[in-house]
């Protein structure tokens, strides 16, 4: 079977789904989830808030406050579902689009903006949040995650590692090597692939002739495809995979079947390569609307709740904007910091020379 991304609107049968696009709870033979009303409301709140942060970041880029932004629009459920499955002790390795996972790990959204504003290469402490820095080079982080998981394994710690990557990334050598390492060493790692159907302008069929989750079997570990727009299913499937990893059952590949609703980044123009009808089909599967419908349908939330979340989102958007604009520019000499841990004569010399050079301009203008 050749896999056709344009038929994405037709859910393939092997897809794990617990909440339909209409907000109906459905059963799955292998996966279930038992959530309190409060937990469902919390998930809804997460989804709305990260979408709001994302929207603000896009606007900030449009206004020249960020150099670029990679939007998570449409992928909120995949990220919140998997992110909320993690325990504090678990470690996550993101790409550049995991703003929702960052949210779950307690990273201040403003700290995500530093990289995109050009003031730093990543503004949070990975160890503090158990959330690694963003990785822009496609696929590299999958190997880091496996190595980290091998460390966890040697420590005998009760923790798992999760690594995020895209559909395009599955073509990289590094990712395939990561699969091999994880398999051979039975590493406690979960490979979380967000198949958003596109790698910039290239549709999935440029990367694979089989559904991505099936790649896992060739490497010797289980693969599962989950409805990436279903936050319940993403939570349930990721929880199970993390549990298996912690219990010594080795890696799992999760393919979260979703859609990149926006441009690849704010520099991209998707009208050059994809048709609007595809977007329309996926709009009907919106990850937030279905949770809202579920809450309504089951009278688990009233209008006051939804209004309060919207108000909180508006506040968050304003706050992120304000603090983004307040973010100080780095000082020129900062670029010489942290290149090495130990003293380094060459860097020190260049730093001094450049300081003297800059001093030469003082009072000159």
């Amino acid at each position: 079977m050749t896999f056709d991304a344009s038929q994405g609107a037709e859910a393939p049968p092997e897809l794990v789904q617990l909440l339909t696009p209409e907000g109906e709870r459905v059963e799955h033979p292998h996966y279930d989830i038992d959530l309190t009303p409060e937990e469902v409301r919390d998930l809804y709140r997460d989804l709305v808030l990260v979408r709001r942060v994302d929207k603000e970041a896009v606007a900030l880029q449009r206004q020249g406050e960020l150099g670029i932004w990679a939007s998570l629009l449409g992928q909120e459920a995949a990220q919140i579902g998997s992110g909320r499955a993690l325990t504090d002790a678990d470690m996550a390795f993101p790409t550049y689009r995991e703003h929702g996972v960052a949210w779950c790990r307690g990273v201040d959204p403003v700290n995500l903006l530093g990289l995109f504003r050009g003031v730093n290469h990543g503004g949070w402490d990975p160890a503090e949040h158990n959330f690694h820095l963003y990785t822009i080079v496609i696929g590299s982080q999958t190997l880091h995650a496996v190595g980290y998981a091998m460390g966890v394994q040697r420590d005998g710690a009760d923790a798992a590692t999760i690594v995020y990557f895209g559909d395009g990334a599955t073509s990289q050598g590094d990712v395939n090597e990561a699969f091999i390492w994880a398999s051979v060493f039975n590493a406690p790692v979960v490979f979380f692939c967000q198949n958003n159907q596109w790698a910039i302008s290239e549709p999935l069929e440029k990367q694979s002739r089989i559904p991505l989750y099936r790649r896992a079997s060739g490497f010797g570990f289980p693969g599962v495809r989950v409805d990436g727009n279903d936050v319940f299913a993403c939570l349930a499937v990721t929880r199970q995979a993390l549990k298996n990893a912690r219990e010594g059952q080795g890696p799992t590949l999760i393919e979260a079947y979703t859609y990149r609703m926006g441009a690849h980044t704010t520099s991209d123009d998707p009208t050059r390569y994809r048709v609007a009808s595809e977007l329309e089909a996926w709009k009907l599967k919106d990850p937030i609307e279905r949770v809202k419908a579920y809450l309504f349908r089951n009278q688990l939330a009233d209008q006051d709740f939804f209004d309060a979340v919207d108000a909180e989102a508006a506040d968050l958007g304003r706050d992120v904007r304000k603090r983004c604009l307040e973010m100080p520019d780095p000082e020129p000499l900062d670029m010489f910091d942290h290149v090495y841990v130990e003293p380094h004569v060459l860097v020190a010399e260049e730093r001094d020379e450049y300081a003297a050079y800059l001093a030469g301009f003082e009072g000159a203008e």
Binding site: I136, V137, K206, D329, F336, E350
Partner: protein, 324 residues
Amino acid sequence: MTTLTLAKAINEGLRAAMEQDPKVLIMGEDVGKLGGVFRVTDGLQKDFGESRVIDTPLAESGIIGTAIGLALRGYRPVCEIQFDGFVFPAADQIITQLAKMPLRSLGKLRLPVVVRIPCGGGIGAVEHHSESPEAYFTHTAGLRVVACSNPVDAFHMIQQAIRCEDPVVFFEPKRRYWEKADLDRDATPVPFDRGRVVREGRDVTLLAYGPMVKTCLEAAAAAADDGRSVEVVDLRSLSPLDMEAIVRSVRKTGRCVVAHEAPVFSGLGAEIAARTTEACFYHLEAPVLRVGGFSTPYPPSRLEEHYLPDLDRVLDAVDRTFAF
């Protein structure tokens, strides 16, 4: 005579090469339908079809490795690496295989593969999108390395690179993609491995390539206002170097500054300075000076104006050569 941007000039050069030789292929990430993230291959897939303009899977080692195979089968692949910082997954195929296979076959095999790399900074990008990795490749025997600086050269050089029987690493100055110039298609191009004096002068020679040529021309113009006559040589070919052009200029001026965006330490400027000193020792009034990036990873974009050598830093180096 037509006016076109550097990006469009490469596009036209690719088109001309594809029209002339059905063995010329284009391959890379997003080069087909999108026309490349910088639109350098815009329209080529539409006109030449998907079997000649290939959107590849997302894997640089795969791009170069399969290009080698296609070349073994008589094709002339032109590979696009999307950004400088993403050439490294292909480094093994380029350095270990592409560069060495012709020699290992005692000349029986030829690998006329072109590796196009948009390079350099100045576009406000995030990390890995602003690097200048040329020295890694000039350090590798078996590769020819060139850098274009303007639309006219770009149009001719890409065609020369494709016709060349050796593998060529072809650097494109991404912050100059939108610079325009008039192109006379019938004018005789400068030979592929030759540098070119782009501004004549008497007092000091500035050696540059790629994005820094424009900066050096601006520096030369500013220096002229102060009564200093600066000659600017666009090296164009980085491996091999056109030492004849360099030596001719430096023997005339007696002073020399090499400028590049890449870090000065172990940069191409070191090789140029050493060779120029050896060849011009008795003509030099001052040591050959280098100006370039620092021994730090390329900084966040809000600091890139400090990292990139600008007109002032080039002029500062010029001043220093007069202080000896």
